[in-house]
C-alpha cells in the first residue's frame, strides 16, 4: 500500500518536474531579450536588460516618469513619445491616448515592453525628478479618517518644487499587503519648508497605501518617494481664483495658501471645501486665520449632509451649483481643483458652463 502511494507520488512529481523544466527552458530561450539600448531625446543613451516595461527600465536608471497607478495601466500619466522600437500599439493603451497622440507616437510607458533598441522623447523637466529617502517624522490626526503625514528628507536633504505639485510615495510590505505600490499625493507644505514633505492621506477602505500609512507606518520608518511632479500650481496673473477641494484634496491648497500669504497675494480668492458632515472638516481654524490676514481671501466649507450636523450654519449641498452665485467675472477667473474624480468632473463641467475656461487640476486616476 505504502509502495503504491510512493510510486504514485513519484510519477506525478516526475511528470510535473519535467514539464516545469520544459517551461524554464522556454522562458529562457523565448522570453529572453538580451541587452537593449534606450536612446532619449537623441542624446542620452541607456543600456538596459530587455523584457521589462519602459517605465520600470527608466526608473531603474533614475529617470522617473509620472505614474499614479504604479504601472498598472489605469492612470494614463506615463505617456511619452516613442519614435522607434516600441512595437505595435496595445489594446491596453488605446483608452488613454487620443487619436492625435497616437499619430504622434505617444505610448503608455508602463505597457510598452523593451524588447529591442528603442528611441524615445521625454520632456526636459522630467530629468529633474529625483528619488528621495526620508523618514516618517510625525503624524497629525486631522479627522477620524484623515491624517497629516510629515516625512523628513534625508537624502537628498531638500526638494525644489512649486506649491501644489505632487510626489509619488512608495508603500512598504505589511502582513496583509498583496503588493508594494506607489501612489501620488500632493505636497501640503510650502516650498519654503523644503527639508520635509507634508502629505494629507485619507483612509480608503482596503486601500494598500492608506492602510499602510494609517495602521502600519511608525515614527522613524524609512520611506522612499519621487518628485516633484505635476502642472498644478498657481499661475502668475491677477485673475480671480476659485479653489475647489474635497477630503484630502485640501493638501495642495494648504501649501499654496501658506505661500500666497507669505507673498502677500492681493488676488481675489474663493476657497470652497466640500465635506459630508462637520466631522470631515479640518484646518478650518487655519483657513479662518488666512481670511484675517488676506482681505481678498474667503473660505467656504460646504456640508453635503447637513441633517447629520444640526448645528451647522454655513453652506450646504454640493459645490458646483454655488459657483455661479459667487463668481465675479468668469472670463478673468482661474479654477484650481483637487479632489475625487467625481468632484473634479462635476466642478469642471459647471465652471465651463459659467464661462471659466482656465481650469487646473491633477487627476490621480
Amino acid at each position: 500500500m505504502l509502495g503504491l502511494i510512493i510510486v504514485n507520488v513519484l510519477v506525478f512529481a516526475g511528470i510535473g518536474g519535467l514539464l516545469a523544466l520544459l517551461l524554464v527552458l522556454a522562458d529562457f530561450f523565448l522570453a529572453n531579450y538580451g541587452d537593449c539600448l534606450i536612446e532619449i531625446n537623441n542624446k542620452k543613451k541607456l543600456t538596459v536588460k530587455g523584457g521589462n516595461s519602459l517605465l520600470n527600465s527608466l526608473s531603474e536608471n533614475d529617470i522617473f516618469i509620472p505614474s499614479a497607478c504604479g504601472g498598472r495601466g489605469t492612470c494614463g500619466l506615463c505617456k511619452l513619445q516613442v519614435s522607434e522600437g516600441g512595437g505595435p500599439l496595445l489594446p491596453t493603451e488605446k483608452p488613454y491616448l487620443t487619436a492625435e497622440e497616437i499619430s504622434q507616437n505617444y505610448r503608455l510607458s508602463c505597457q510598452v515592453k523593451v524588447k529591442t533598441d528603442i528611441s524615445i522623447s521625454i520632456p526636459e523637466e522630467l530629468f529633474s525628478i529625483r528619488k528621495f529617502k526620508g523618514v516618517m517624522e510625525k503624524m497629525i490626526d486631522y479627522t477620524y479618517d484623515t491624517k497629516g503625514v510629515i516625512i523628513k528628507l534625508i537624502e537628498p536633504k531638500s526638494i525644489d518644487f512649486k506649491a501644489g505639485q505632487y510626489i509619488q510615495l512608495q508603500s512598504k510590505k505589511y502582513p496583509k499587503a498583496k503588493q508594494v505600490v506607489s501612489r501620488a499625493y500632493s505636497m501640503a507644505n510650502s516650498p519654503e519648508n523644503n527639508d520635509h514633505v507634508e502629505l494629507i492621506i485619507r483612509r480608503v477602505p482596503e486601500g494598500i497605501m492608506t492602510t499602510f500609512i494609517h495602521d502600519y507606518c511608525r515614527k522613524d520608518d524609512q520611506l522612499t518617494l519621487t518628485g516633484p511632479y505635476g502642472d498644478f500650481y498657481i499661475r502668475d496673473s491677477d485673475a480671480d481664483m476659485i479653489f475647489v477641494a474635497g477630503g484630502s484634496g485640501m493638501a495642495p491648497f494648504k501649501g499654496i495658501m501658506e505661500e500666497l500669504c507669505r507673498k502677500e497675494c492681493q488676488r481675489h480668492i474663493l476657497f470652497f471645501f466640500g465635506a459630508r458632515t462637520t466631522k470631515d472638516l479640518f484646518l478650518t481654524a487655519e483657513m479662518k486665520e488666512y481670511e484675517k490676514k488676506m482681505a481678498a481671501f474667503s473660505y467656504h466649507p460646504v456640508i453635503s449632509q447637513p441633517e447629520a450636523s444640526p448645528d451647522w450654519k454655513g453652506l450646504t449641498g454640493y459645490i458646483p451649483p454655488l459657483l455661479e452665485k459667487y463668481v465675479r467675472d468668469p472670463a478673468k477667473t482661474e479654477g484650481y481643483l483637487c479632489g475625487s474624480p467625481a468632484l473634479l468632473a462635476a466642478t469642471e463641467k459647471k465652471m465651463r458652463e459659467i464661462g471659466i475656461d482656465k481650469i487646473f487640476y491633477d487627476s490621480f486616476g
Binding site: 504514485n8 506525478f12 511528470i15 514539464l19 522556454a26 496595445l90
Partner: protein
Amino acid sequence: MDINPFVIFLAAIFTGNILLTYFLGMCSYLSVSKEIESSAGLGMAVFFVLTLTSAINYLVYHYLLVPMDLVYLQYIVFIIVIAAFVQLTEIVIERFSPVLYYSLGIFLPLITVNCAILGVSLFLIIRQYSFIQSVAYGAGSGIGWLVAILALAGIRNRLKEKYLPRGMNNAAISLIITGIMALAFIGFSGVAIIQ
C-alpha cells in the same frame, strides 16, 4: 480500430465537432467571439494546445500510466500536461505577438480549464485510437473549435447593428445561434464518410 486518420480528422471538424456536437469548450467560445480577430487568435491557440496535448497525453497514458498500472492518475496527469502546454503557448504568444497576448487577456490561461481540451484527451483514450489517430483527432478538434468560434464571431459581427430584444444580447443570442449551428452541422452526418 482501423479508421483512416484523415477521416478522423474530418469527422472531428464536421460530424463530431467538439463544440457543436459535444458542447464542450463553451465559455471562452461565448466570451471571445465578440471580435473576429481575437477569435481567430484564440482558436489557433486552442488548436496548438489540442494537437500537442493529444499527442503527449497519448504517449504518457500508453507508455507510462498503463505499464505502471496507474491508469486512475489519468485525470490529474492530463490536466498538468495541459496546464504546462497552455503556459508554453502563453510564452510563445507573448514573444511573437504582444498585441494578441493583450487582446486575449485572461482567456489565454483559461484555455487550461477549457473542457474541450481535457475532453479530447479522454475521448481518444476511450475510443482506443492509435498515436497517429490521436494526433489527427486532436488537430481536427482544434480546427473544429476554430471553425465554430470563427463562425459565431462572424455571425455576431453581422448582428452588431441589428435590433435585438432587451436581454437577448451576448450570451442569450450566442447560445441560440450555437444551437442553430449545431442543427446545421447535424446535416453533415448525412454524408457517409465513415462507413
